[in-house]
């Protein structure tokens, strides 16, 4: 099964860190990505730019409405994701628990619909 790890973080946290701490944090994420890759379960991953860079689009009264900012104005924002392939939720949770985000944010584990064929 495929699972998407959605990484939710308090965005101010990164800027408040010293350059050494930031380097350490980046190292932790690189090591984690490397571990997923070596285990052969990583399908994709990306780090997102901060939420003020986000723009939302919706259709209101037949007209598309564009708004500055992220969809949900919450303290913790989506900061990145990993897409992994694992046999079941227990293994997905075990790998999610190793993600550096759980130390300073939250990882939401979501199963992905299998692709439709035929």
């Amino acid at each position: 099964m495929r699972y998407l790890y959605l990484l939710y973080l308090e965005e101010g946290g990164w800027d408040a860190m010293t350059p050494e701490q930031q380097a350490e944090g980046e190292g932790a994420y690189m090591a984690y990505t490397e571990a997923l890759q070596t285990a052969g379960i990583l399908i994709g991953a990306n780090r997102l730019q901060p939420s003020p860079s986000a723009t939302t689009v919706r259709l209101t009264g037949g007209k598309s409405q564009v708004l500055d900012g992220p969809y949900a104005d919450t303290k913790e924002q989506l900061g990145g994701y990993y897409l992994v392939e694992l046999p079941d939720l227990d293994q997905a949770l075990a790998w999610a628990a190793r993600c550096p985000t759980v130390g300073h944010g939250v990882v939401e584990v979501r199963p992905v619909w299998p692709p439709r064929t035929g």
Binding site: L89, D90, V109, P111, R116, G118
Partner: protein, 416 residues
Amino acid sequence: MAAERARRTAEAVARHSYGKLVAFLAAATRDLAGAEDALAEAFATALRDWPETGCPDNPEAWLLTVARRRMVDAGRRSRTGTAAAETLRQLAEERAGDTAGELPDRRLALLFACAHPAIDAGIRAPLMLQTVLGLDAAAIASAFLTSPAAMAKRLVRAKEKIRAAGIPFAPPGRDELAPRLAAVLDAIYAAFAEGWSDPAGTDPSRRDLPEEALFLARLMAELMPDEPEALGLAALMLHAEARRPARRSADGDYIPLEAQNPALWDGAMIAEAERLLRRAASRRQPGRYQIEAALQSAHADRRRSGRDTSRAVAALYEALFALTGSPVVGLNRAVAIAGTEGPQAGLALLDGLAADGRLATYQPYWAARAALLAAADAVDEAVHAYEIAIGLAADPAVRRFLETRRQALQPPPPRP
């Protein structure tokens, strides 16, 4: 005649094998709802065919074959092509794997799936009752004091979560076992405790729940005979269930343990509980359910033999309080210590517990306080505490019992 025999056979298989069949059918696909639907159709077919064709030699295998065919058909009809193909492939694998012999018992894996941490704690017990025992949502709802529609919806959602999220049908690994097992046992105990809120068994739809929960506890003890807490839970529930016939008088009045007639207790259940408890104790890994079972054992022993077990009881409550920190356990511990050191010692402990606001509306707290105050000759305060307890009592039999106690302290003034 044939119809009657077919119905009885189907019922017997349902009672014995329902959970085994559901667990086996759902193990590969994790599709509990699909397995239940297929099995329901298989039972309906059995009731139609068996009166004419006669009961098959192996009814369990017959039902499994029919239910599986239904699942494969349902898979073909399913709109998501891939899911259907996957189901068919897995079912084919299952078929190749099983022999004509005994159906493998995957109920333990099913119980662990039902009590998975990803499943809301409040729905775990209902989910077990439905998938392992085949209870319908309406019966479960009335035991858990919710509407059948709301219960049915929550059950559907939980089953969908198991399937969609890929919750595995497998007992957890060694490092995860302790917390996961505790979750299974807690859910079974919750089902049992719900049944107790109607201890007189006056509501027919609720009467069977302790029995069903006891079935699950015995099943866990059988499937995990080396897990002392699984044995402890079964022992605890057997002790409580054994005394049920003695807990109410013929008039429906509440009878506390000290006044119960041990001849009304179920001796076979108590013997079974003691056997389980001894086996658990031999593993030397004490835990909450073992201690609670040991307490029940000590209470029963004192009542039957007249032996003074108060010191053992106080020590067990001490251990249980240290383990759980629960204010309810603290209350029982205070009462036990009052039994060995006098009412003042118990009252001092109760004062310490009252800081925890949760006990302020807990009827047994006020009843215990009243009894200790009465024992300490503080009549006015005791009457006041009894009044609060009476006001908080939900069970009419308990309310009558408390009123009798209060009136013994302070008879109502004679009418002029």
